[in-house]
C-alpha cells in the first residue's frame, strides 16, 4: 500500500561530474521508508549516504529516478517546499540568532502567527530540555546543547520526515549514548519518520526499526537489525555488520532448509540456507564469533575443528580468541562471555578445539 510509505525512492541515480569523470554516488537505489519508522542508512565512508539524504532533502536533484512523498514525485522540488527537515552533521545553527530564534525560524518562514511560533518554540525547548538557555547565542552553548537545538529546530515545523546526517558523531561516548536514547524518545513522542545516517553499526543496530546497508552507491540489504545481523544478504553486509568468520565449502546435502557443507578447514558444517535459495556447488558459510566456543583439543569428537591460539583480547564483558586453523591460513575468531572469578586458563600458542553452535552457521547467497 503506497500510503503507508513516508518516502519512496525509486531507482534513483545521482551522477557527479561529466564524461570520463562521471561518478555515480547513488546507483539505482530503491527503498520504501514507512511512516513513523526509525530508518537508518548504514555504510562505510563515501558510500553515498549523505548524497542520498541530500537528494531526499532537495539539496541535490536526482540524475534519474523518482523520490515519492505523499504519492507525488518531489525529485525536483526545491528544499523550501518539501515538508522535510534536516539535522545537519555540523548542526548549522544560525550564529546571529538566539536558541529560541533558531528553533522558531522554520515556523516563521512558514508564516505562522507570532503567538503560535512562541508556543511551539516553548514546547520544543521543553521537549529537548533547553528551557533555561532560550535566549543564549548559539555560540555560547556546549556541543551537546547545540545538537539538541538543531534537533528542536528541525522538529519544530512538524515535518513529515526528519533527516539526520550522523548527528551524534561529534559527541563524546557518554553523551552519544544519552542522545541515542533521547533520539529514540523524541521519535516515539513525535511520531515523525526519522531517516538516520551513520557509519557506526552498533548505533544502527540499537536504534533502528529497519536498516539499509549501502556500499558504493548501491543498496545491498534493507531489513530489521536482527535480520541484517542474523541473515546478512551477502559477504559485504556480513563483514560490515559485526564480526564474522567466513568458511568456503561445497554443498553436500540439503534437507529442511539446512545444508551440510563440506569445508576444508572445519569438516562438515551444518548451515542454515537463506529462504528461496537454491544452493549448489561452492558456497561461503558465515558464523558469528559468539556462536562458537572453545573446547579441549584432545577430545576432538566434540569439536568441529582445531587450531593454534594466536591472540587473546580481553574486552571486559567477554574475551575474543583468534585461532589459526589447521591450514595455517584461515584465522577464526570466537567470543566467550567472561564469568566472575574466572582465571585465565589458556595462553597464546596453545592448541585448542572449536565447537560450533548447531545450525548457527549460514550459507551466504553468493
Amino acid at each position: 500500500m503506497a500510503e503507508s510509505n513516508a518516502v519512496e525512492i525509486r531507482d534513483v541515480v545521482k551522477v557527479f561530474g561529466f564524461g570520463e569523470f562521471a561518478f555515480s554516488a547513488v546507483d539505482h537505489a530503491s527503498i520504501a521508508i514507512r511512516k513513523n519508522e526509525f530508518f537508518t542508512l548504514l555504510g562505510p565512508s563515501g558510500c553515498g549516504k549523505t548524497t542520498l539524504l541530500r537528494l531526499i532533502a532537495g539539496f541535490e536533484y536526482p540524475t534519474s529516478g523518482e523520490i515519492i512523498l505523499n504519492g507525488e514525485d518531489i525529485g525536483t522540488m526545491p528544499p523550501f517546499k518539501r515538508p522535510i527537515n534536516t539535522v545537519f552533521q555540523s548542526y548549522a545553527l544560525f550564529p546571529h540568532m538566539t536558541v529560541a530564534e533558531n528553533i522558531g525560524f522554520g515556523l516563521t518562514m512558514l508564516g505562522r502567527p507570532k503567538q503560535e511560533v512562541r508556543d511551539r518554540v516553548a514546547a520544543m525547548l521543553k521537549l529537548v530540555r533547553m528551557e533555561k538557555l532560550a535566549d543564549r547565542r548559539t555560540s555560547q552553548i556546549s556541543g551537546g546543547q547545540q545538537q539538541r537545538v538543531a534537533l528542536a529546530r528541525a522538529l519544530a515545523p512538524k515535518p513529515k520526515v526528519l533527516l539526520l546526517d550522523e548527528p551524534l558523531s561529534a559527541l563524546d561516548y557518554k553523551l552519544r549514548k544519552d542522545m541515542q536514547i533521547e533520539l529514540k524518545r523524541l521519535q516515539a513522542e513525535t511520531g515523525i519518520t526519522f531517516i538516520f545516517v551513520t557509519h557506526d553499526q552498533e548505533e544502527a543496530l540499537t536504534m533502528s526499526d529497519r536498516i539499509a546497508v549501502m556500499s558504493a552507491g548501491k543498496i545491498l540489504q534493507v531489513d530489521s537489525p536482527r535480520a541484517i545481523y542474523d541473515a546478512p544478504a551477502d559477504r559485504f553486509v556480513a563483514d560490515f555488520i559485526g564480526e564474522t568468520n567466513f568458511l568456503r565449502g561445497r554443498i553436500g546435502s540439503v534437507s529442511d532448509g539446512i545444508a551440510q557443507v563440506d569445508t576444508p578447514m572445519a569438516g562438515r558444517v551444518s548451515a542454515t540456507l537463506p529462504r528461496d535459495f537454491v544452493a549448489e556447488g561452492d558456497v561461503t558459510v558465515v558464523l558469528r564469533p559468539e556462536h562458537a566456543a572453545l573446547c579441549a583439543a584432545d577430545e576432538p569428537s566434540g569439536c568441529q575443528t582445531t587450531g593454534t591460539l594466536e591472540n587473546i583480547v580481553y574486552f571486559g564483558t567477554d574475551t575474543h580468541y583468534h585461532v589459526r586453523l589447521g591450514d595455517g591460513e584461515t584465522q577464526f575468531m570466537l567470543r566467550e562471555q567472561n564469568k566472575p572469578l574466572q582465571r585465565q586458563r589458556l595462553s597464546v600458542g596453545d592448541r585448542v578445539g572449536i565447537r560450533f553452535e548447531p545450525n548457527a552457521a549460514r550459507v551466504l547467497r553468493n
Binding site: 528544499p79 544560525f94 525560524f105 518562514m109 515545523p157
Partner: protein
Amino acid sequence: MTQPGTIEAERSRDIRKRWLLSLPALLIVLLAATGPLLIVLLYSFLTPGPYGDVLWKASPDGWIGVFLEKDIFTETLSLADAHVSIFVRSVLLSLATTVVTLLFGFPTAYFIATRPERTRELWLLLITIPFWTNLLIRTFAVLQIIRNEGLINTLLMKFGLIERPIQMLFTDGAILTGMVYVYLPLMVLPVYANLEKLDFRLVEAAYDLYATPFRVLTKIIIPLAKPGLIAGSILVFIPALGAYVTPSILGGGKNLMLGNLIELQFGQGRNWPLGSALSITLMLIVTVALLVYVRNVGSQEKRHG
C-alpha cells in the same frame, strides 16, 4: 627564589622600558597625525593673507564663512546658500555612491565568493585591475564614454535612438557614475572577504527550513555579511565625501563637491582660514556619521548578545 617586592619593582621597570622603547613611534604618530591637523585648526582662526597664506591675526571669519555670507555692502550676515547646497550635495552624492556601490558590489562579491576556489583569485584580480591605473586616467576614461561626442551618445545616434546627444557630462549623474566606478572595488573587497568566510551550510539549513531564496538573502546572508557591508560602506563613504578629482573633471567645476570647495579656498579663493574651517567641518561630518553608524550597529549586536 624571587621576593614579591622585587617582582613588583621588576614589573614597573619593565613597563617603563616598554614606554621608552615605543616613544619614537608614538612621537611620529602624534606629530604626523595630529600635527598637520593642529596647523589646519590654527589656520582656521587666522586672517586670510592677500596672496594666499595667512596673517597672524586672530579672526572668526573663517568659521563664520562656512555657513554664512557677509554682504560686501551692507555688512549683514546671511546664510551662504552656495556652501549649504555644496554640503548637502556632497553628503547626498556620497550616500548615493555608497548605496549604488552596495547594490553592485554585493552581488559581485557574492558571485566571486561562490565561484570554485581556483577561479576566485582571477575574478579578484579583475576587480583590482582599475587600481593599477591612475585615478585621473580612469576618470578621463569615464569622461570619454559619457561626453556628448562620446561612446554612448555616438552609438545611440548611430542607431537612430536619439537625434541630439544627451547631456550627461557635467551633471550630478556624471559625478555619481564616476565615483561609483572608482570606489566599487573598495566595496567589493571587504564584502567578498566576509562572504568568503560565510558557511554555506547555513544557507542550506535556511532553505531546508522553508526560507525562499529571497528570505535566505535577507535573513541569513545579509545579516552574516554585515561586518563586510559596514566596512565597505565606510571605505566608500569617507573618500567619496572628500572626493576632488572625479567631481572636478566630470562635474566640470559647475557642480562642486566639498573637496572642490576646499581646494578653491586654498587656490583661487585665497582664503586659507575658510578652507581650513571647511576641512575641519568635513572631518566632523565624517566623525559624526561614523559614530552614528557604529553606535547603531553596536547596539544591534548587543541586543543579540
